[in-house]
Structures are given as structure tokens and as C-alpha cells.
């Protein structure tokens, strides 16, 4: 009995050490760039960033934020201008469509639904060349509005899929009760279904926001002028081709990822549910 318990205890300790070692390994790069961003580069290179004694400065952050060519201030503003509508618009439109997919049957429904699934599997690369010409013609190339349009349209498929799955889990009786009570379809959707769906909407909003904020490819293709660059483009440009200013780059990286990270800290539950949920039915 005692031996059994001893063996169990050893196993327990080993598991804890192994898993926590991995967790520390995982978080190490974050600690690393934080240190590099806060210390003069010369010191970091000579002594290593893990050496915590030395000078600390916010200079890198100030530089990254105010760089005359690639200022992250502009990048942040542009990112927010793109990200907020690109979250709200598709969320609203897809919620309407998802409700129809979940509750009504209509001709071509299965075909349309499969189309959405195919779009979800399509790489972004499959769309950019014609979109490049289309946006050019519409005068939206190198414009934030163009990027909003593209993000909104490409977000629709997965949001529709996700919300349809969620609506499927809502008991139909509640809507039927509302119908018998005298509510119209619009009323049922906006006053009953949407309020009941707030957790799912929070998940979708958090993830779509993160994805749009984090997008690099569309921004790279559809934006050319540095004053229109979004944050991810700015950071990538800071890197430079031959010389790497790790201090500036670290500060820029931390700033750029801070927005989704803060959102994650606030909405962690919804993130996890969303990331798991959009891939799994139900």
C-alpha cells in the first residue's frame, strides 16, 4: 500500500516536471523578446537576455511607435480601421444567413452549404489575383476599404458555419413559443435568437478580430503605400533585409501582438470555445 502510494507520488511529480518544463520552453521566446525589447542591444548581445541585471529602457517602444517611415502608430490606426468593420459586418450578415441555414429548408440549401465548406478549405492565394484587378477597377486598391471588403467577404463562410452549428443547438421550442406568443420572424431573430447567442457571437467576434488583425497576406497584396500599412505589415518591414535590429523588432512584435493578447486575456473562454467549435460540429 505504502509502496503503491510512493510509486504514484513519483509518477505525479515526474508528470508535473515534464509538463511544466514544456510550458516554460513554450513561454521562453516571449520572455526573451520582452527582455530584448527592454534592454540596450549591446548589453543583450554580450551578456545574453537571460541576464536580468543591467539597464532597462523603453526606447525601443518609442522608436517603434514613432518611426518616421513605418510608425506603428499609423499601423495601429489602420489595423483598427480595418479590423473593427471586418469583424462587425460579416458577423451580422453571416448571423442572418446562418439562421436561415439552421431553421429553414429551401432549394439548393445543401449545395450552398457545401460551397461554404469548400470556401473554408480554400487558401487565400486562390482569390488574390482577380481581386487585385477588381479592387483596382473599383478604385479600392491600396485603400483600407478594399481590405475591409475582402476580409468581410472571406470571413462569411466560417462564421456562417460556426453560427449555424450554434443555432442548431438552441431549442426550437423557444422560437416556437415566441411565434405562438405573436412575434414576427424579425422579432424572433433579433430579440430572442441573437440575445441567446451572445456567447457564440463573442467567440466569433474574438476570433474574427484576431484573424483580421493578424492577417498579413491580404494586406501585403492589397496595400502598397507605407501610410496605409497595417500593424503586421509594419512589423514585417521593420525586420529589414540584411541587418536585424532585434530591439526595435521585439518592441514592434510585442506591440502588435498585444492587441489580440489583451483580447485573449479578457475573453479566454470564448476564444477556446470558438477555436474548438468552428472545427467541430455541435
Amino acid at each position: 500500500m505504502v509502496r503503491r502510494r510512493g510509486k504514484k507520488l513519483i509518477k505525479y511529480i515526474v508528470i508535473n516536471i515534464v509538463v511544466w518544463a514544456l510550458a516554460i520552453l513554450w513561454v521562453l521566446p516571449f520572455i526573451g523578446i520582452t527582455m530584448v525589447s527592454l534592454r540596450p542591444f549591446s548589453e543583450v548581445v554580450v551578456k545574453g537576455w537571460w541576464n536580468i541585471i543591467g539597464q532597462y529602457t523603453l526606447k525601443n517602444y518609442v522608436d517603434a511607435w514613432t518611426d518616421p517611415m513605418y510608425s506603428l502608430e499609423t499601423g495601429f490606426r489602420n489595423s483598427l480601421i480595418v479590423t473593427i468593420p471586418s469583424t462587425v459586418i460579416p458577423l451580422f450578415i453571416a448571423a442572418l444567413a446562418a439562421y436561415v441555414f439552421s431553421r429553414f429548408s429551401f432549394p439548393l440549401k445543401t449545395m450552398l452549404f457545401i460551397t461554404l465548406l469548400i470556401i473554408m478549405a480554400m487558401p487565400q492565394q486562390m482569390s488574390v489575383i482577380p481581386l487585385f484587378f477588381m479592387l483596382n477597377k473599383m478604385g479600392l486598391y491600396d485603400k483600407l476599404q478594399g481590405l475591409i471588403l475582402v476580409h468581410s467577404s472571406w470571413g462569411l463562410a466560417w462564421i456562417t458555419f460556426f453560427l449555424k452549428n450554434f443555432f442548431d443547438t438552441l431549442p426550437k421550442e423557444i422560437e416556437e413559443a415566441a411565434r405562438v406568443d405573436g412575434a414576427s420572424d424579425f422579432h424572433i431573430f433579433f430579440r430572442i435568437v441573437l440575445p441567446m447567442s451572445l456567447p457564440a457571437i463573442a467567440s466569433v467576434a474574438a476570433i474574427q478580430f484576431t484573424w483580421v488583425w493578424s492577417d498579413f497576406f491580404y494586406a501585403l497584396v492589397f496595400l502598397v503605400s507605407p501610410q496605409n500599412y497595417v500593424a503586421t505589415l509594419q512589423v514585417a518591414t521593420m525586420k529589414g533585409q540584411y541587418h536585424i535590429d532585434w530591439g526595435l523588432l521585439s518592441a514592434g512584435s510585442i506591440l502588435t501582438m498585444s492587441v489580440p493578447l489583451i483580447l485573449y486575456a479578457l475573453l479566454q473562454k470564448y476564444y477556446v470555445k470558438g477555436m474548438v467549435g468552428w472545427t467541430v460540429k455541435g
Binding site: T115, L117, I119, M122, F216, W246, V276
Partner: protein, 303 residues
């Protein structure tokens, strides 16, 4: 159904569906079709020239399968398509077993929710930043990995990994493990949570050992989660772009080139839209392998 009610229902369906259909048609479906069309366009009408060109291209920055400086049994470049396949072949199994293993062990770990949150960070940060962090991790001066090998006395692995064709690709793949394991862990953790304890208890009563319970009971019961992880990881690997772009731009000497990057190179550098579209189509068709698998599963569980 009554005629009136039916007419009203049709109106609702149309009103709710139209905005979505309009946007998807204009900015998703038509561009996808357009890419197909452009990929077949040649100087003299339509044909397969672009596909032929893309596949037989040998210059290291655009080669798909046969880069000119390829030497048998030598380090990369092997061609972008091969790099993508190697990526999937290494990344998928590691992510599956690491994610599942940690999720399974987490039950006995103190502060397991903190571990989960840390691992999930890779899912939250922009991939561009992820790429920069990978570069940082493998940097000869600052990175943890080269430092570790220096301490172990292995000189070949104590330099900046992404500067050498022998180590660049594997550095990026390991970096993508770091970014993506959180997804696998989260899916498995959720699946394990919803797994009725009675299965494991029954196996214990039946006399199964810890390993037997894991491989004979738990792993088969998590089949659905595993399929989800495999499909999503494959799709993610095939589309990989940002982290390569910011860390190596496909270099050195094409050693880390991937499909999506070649598509971009044709598009933005060579201004060869036909070949760029052809590359995109090839990438899309390959993505449809896990894609169709995914669609089939969704449709089956839906009916």
C-alpha cells in the same frame, strides 16, 4: 403549408440570405473562378502552358519539385511542393501526439489551466510575429535552441539555424510546432473533458494498465478529435506563408520555399499572373484533399 405562410417564409429566407450570397458571389466565388480562368490563359488563347511552366520551373526561388541545384540525398532545396509535404509529414504527427499527450497528462498537473493558456498563445498572436519569434528562437546570438546545442558541444547546431539550408526548413517546422500545438492541445482537452469517465474506470476494473488505457481506450475514443486536428493542421501547413515570409523569404537558396510563397513570387516579383494563378490552383487542389475529408465528415454528422 398555407400559400400565404409559404410566401412569407420565402421572403424571410431571401432577405436573410441575400447579403451573404451577394458578397460571397462577388468577392469569393467569382475571384476563385477567375483564378481558374487566368491559370489557363496563355499567349495564344487557353492551354496548360502555365501549369507546365510552373511544374518544370527549376530556378531555386520558384521551383516546385525539381530545383536546378538539387543533389540527391542532400539538404534542401527540394522544391516548394516537397517542402510542404515534408512539413505536413513532420508537423502533423508531432502536433497530434504532443497535444494529446499533454492534454492527457494535464489531469494530474498543478496549474493545468495556466499551462493550457501558455500553449494556446501561439494561436492568438499574429503569424508574422510568430515567424519573427521563431527566427529569434533559432538565432545564433540570442536564441535558446542554438545556445542549448552550444552547451552540448554540438557546433553545427549552435549557429543561426535559418541561415543554413541544412537546418532552415526544420527550424521553421519546429517553430510551427511551437505555434500550433496549442490548437491540438485545446481540441484534445475539450474532447477528453466530454469523455465519460466510466470508459476509463471500466478499463481499470478490467485490469488494463495506464498505457493500455491510453492506446486501447482513450486514443480510439478521441478519433473524432484526432481527425479534426489532422485535417486542420494539414490545411494550415499547406497554406503556410507568413512565418516563411518574415523569417527566410524562402531562403537560403530556396531551402524553405513553400507553395504559397511561390505563388506570391510569381504574382508580385515576376508579375506572371498566369503562372501565379496556376500555382494557386495546384495549392487549392492539394488543399481539397483534407478539405473534402472535412466536408464529408460535416455532412455525415449533419444528416
Amino acid at each position: 403549408m398555407g400559400l400565404l405562410a409559404r410566401r412569407k417564409r420565402t421572403k424571410i429566407i431571401l432577405a436573410f440570405l441575400l447579403p451573404e450570397l451577394a458578397l460571397i458571389l462577388s468577392f469569393v466565388l467569382i475571384p476563385i473562378m477567375g483564378t481558374f480562368v487566368i491559370s489557363f490563359k496563355t499567349d495564344h488563347g487557353y492551354g496548360l502552358d502555365n501549369y507546365y511552366g510552373v511544374i518544370t520551373e527549376r530556378s531555386p526561388d520558384k521551383a516546385l519539385v525539381i530545383p536546378e541545384n538539387i543533389v540527391k540525398a542532400q539538404p534542401p532545396p527540394w522544391g516548394a511542393l516537397i517542402h510542404n509535404i515534408v512539413w505536413v509529414a513532420i508537423h502533423v504527427p508531432i502536433v497530434v501526439f504532443l497535444g494529446l499527450g499533454i492534454a492527457y497528462l494535464l489531469h494530474d498537473v498543478i496549474g493545468s489551466s495556466i499551462v493550457k493558456s501558455i500553449m494556446f498563445l501561439g494561436m492568438v498572436i499574429p503569424m508574422v510575429v510568430g515567424g519573427l519569434l521563431i527566427r529569434f528562437m533559432f538565432d545564433g546570438d540570442l536564441g535558446v535552441v542554438p545556445l542549448l546545442f552550444r552547451k552540448l558541444g554540438i557546433e553545427a547546431l549552435s549557429r543561426t539555424w535559418i541561415n543554413y539550408p541544412q537546418t532552415a526548413l526544420i527550424a521553421l517546422i519546429l517553430g510551427s510546432v511551437w505555434l500550433w500545438t496549442g490548437f491540438s492541445l485545446t481540441v484534445y482537452a475539450a474532447a477528453l473533458e466530454s469523455l465519460p469517465k466510466s470508459y476509463i474506470e471500466a478499463a481499470k476494473v478490467d485490469g488494463a494498465s495506464g498505457f493500455q488505457i491510453f492506446f486501447k481506450v482513450v486514443f480510439p475514443l478521441l478519433k473524432h478529435a484526432t481527425i479534426v486536428v489532422v485535417i486542420m493542421t494539414m490545411l494550415w501547413d499547406l497554406k503556410i506563408f507568413d512565418i516563411v515570409f518574415v523569417s527566410t523569404l524562402g531562403g537560403p537558396g530556396g531551402a524553405t520555399n513553400v507553395m504559397a510563397l511561390i505563388m506570391y513570387t510569381y504574382f508580385a516579383r515576376a508579375l506572371d499572373y498566369g503562372r501565379s494563378a496556376a500555382t494557386a490552383v495546384i495549392l487549392a487542389l492539394i488543399s481539397l484533399i483534407p478539405g473534402i475529408w472535412f466536408i464529408k465528415r460535416v455532412m455525415r454528422s449533419g444528416s
